[in-house]
């Protein structure tokens, strides 16, 4: 069963092709990685899936629903959550508010109830607070719930981004270089964490990563991009021995 199918998706910046003929078959519950050299179009793929960019060609179906042409908030409300390569938290807001904001689409009350604090407002707000505190506790952030996000150290900001992405109750989670700037010990912890949240929240995970240790360690399948084109798709073992991949990363391999 596939949760996300991308079919011949292409995107151009001006005359420049960022992604061409991108195909993806992501199965329910899978943990898949996208790798490729800098400028290969990995983040562009995430931006296309989440609706930040509109694909100029092709189609993408999430749980059978066409998502090309939908606005980013609609796609997020369909339960696709993501983090960012360069952290994009709501810096001047509290850690708790960062997580509460991501409950927007699920908060089941309207503008009048919001203006008057009547009806479903109290119950829903309490539910959001409880869920937010639960998510913060998973990431060991409950002690800093009242701090401004910008005041957190780098590592905690990374964790908060994942907590915030989980607040939209995603079925598909996109992680954009989650291990960036981490030391080997932190990467080990992150690998355990990713596998744990995948179980706990019943997630399908698609991640972009340069740290081969993480990609080869936890991904079940890997797709390699270069200059917007797919070079190879397969298991970590297959990718490690793929001649085209080695070429893209290391230059032409003599006799390869």
């Amino acid at each position: 069963m596939t949760i996300l199918i991308a079919n011949k998706v292409g995107h151009k910046f001006g005359g420049l092709s960022a992604v061409t003929d991108f195909n993806l078959n992501l199965h329910y519950g899978e943990l898949m990685g996208i790798i490729g050299p800098n400028g290969a179009g990995k983040t562009t793929v995430f931006n296309l899936i989440t609706g930040v960019y509109q694909a100029s060609e092709g189609s993408m179906r999430f749980k059978g629903i066409e998502i090309v042409g939908k606005r980013p908030n609609q796609i997020a409300a369909l339960r696709i959550g993501r983090t960012f390569q360069n952290i994009r938290l709501f810096r001047e807001l509290s850690v708790l508010d960062n997580v509460r904001i991501a409950h927007y689409a699920q908060a089941n009350y309207g503008i009048l109830e919001g203006l008057l604090h009547l009806g479903r407002y109290q119950k829903e707000e309490q539910r959001i607070i409880n869920n937010s505190r639960y998510l913060l506790s998973i990431f060991k952030l409950e002690q800093v719930a009242g701090e401004l996000a910008k005041n957190l150290p780098y590592g905690l900001q990374r964790r908060l981004e994942i907590a915030r992405a989980l607040a939209i109750s995603p079925e598909l989670l996109l992680l954009d270089e989650p291990a960036a700037g981490m030391n080997p010990h932190e990467i080990d912890q992150l690998m355990l964490l990713i596998q744990w949240i995948r179980q706990e929240f019943n997630l399908t995970i698609l991640l972009i990563e340069h740290q081969m240790k993480l990609v080869m360690g936890i991904c079940e399948r890997i797709q390699v991009l270069d200059f917007g084109e797919t070079l190879a798709v397969g298991t970590p073992d297959m990718i490690q021995n793929h001649s085209k991949v080695l070429e893209a990363y290391l230059g032409e391999v003599p006799g390869g």
């Binding site: 908030n73 994009r88 959001i128 009242g146």
Partner: protein
Amino acid sequence: MSVLLIKQWNSLLENDWLVPVLLTLGFGLSFAIPEYNLFSVYVQLIMMYIGINIILAVSLNLVNGYMGEFSLAHAGFMAVGAYSSVLLTMKVLPVADYPLLFPCAVFIGGVVAALLGMIIAVPSFKVRGDYLAIITLAFLMIVKSMIENIDFMGGPRGIPGIMKLTTMPWVFFWTATLVWIVRNFVFSKYGRAVMAIREDEIASDLMSVDTKKVKFFAFMLSSFCAGIAGALFAHLLQFISPRIFDITKSTDILIMVYLGGIASLGGSILGATIYTVLLEILRPSTMAALLSWLPSFMFDPLQAHLITHLGTWRMVIMPLALIMVMLYWPRGVMGLREFRGFIPRAHKQAHHHN
């Protein structure tokens, strides 16, 4: 020192019963003050202007402070509220016979302003920052020149002889109600979304926030409040003309917001009060009256050298004061903080570790 004072103030406001008690007391006083002339008519007038300015500051803070945009259009929304309510009370509704039609006229003034607020909301989907500020400025100029060119609305000479329908209880009622509604908005998913848009619009979208809808609501609520303030203002001053609602009126509101503090309702209330009172104190006649208890050997030289020139100087002193505030308190007195009395209990507890 000031931190200590704010802490004291906050712990006082922590009590759940305090805000309702103050509201009841204030509402009672708003009837008692004019009835028994507890203050002079002049002071009563200033008190009503403070109320109207609080509404304006809170309204502008929603856009400039919470959403992080820069609106210069608020004098325009005020004008829309003022003119539409005045046309109603003068030409349509028999207010003299049915006094309760006045709040209806004020409400309709706010609704008309809110509808025009949608016109500003639409460009805000595409344009941000300085460019949106210029669009709001253009909106203000359009409103002003439209009124100037429609004879039906008094043209450039304005409309004199408006009934004085704005009374202290009405000012108190509208101020309290609108501050309460804006506070509710701020402490709802919509208010949090407005702040998220200020911080990072794309990230907000990706966290499922319907940014277009939220901007619509925020601009409409903000212009609704400004329209109400305009309607109250018109029926207090008893005269309106397009010149009253020009860019200087917008800057007045801006000063109140930035003085009091961005993204803070308490700050807006403080800023509007301080600014209104300061402007009045710096009038020659007020200053002379305030210092009249001094013995004449002290009062006379002050009167000769300082007080008579205040009329000129106050337009220097106020901007200078604002520059000082911006230099030393870049976010205003209460920037990004809130009186704890305004924060709903569940939200207060949520930030504390159990």
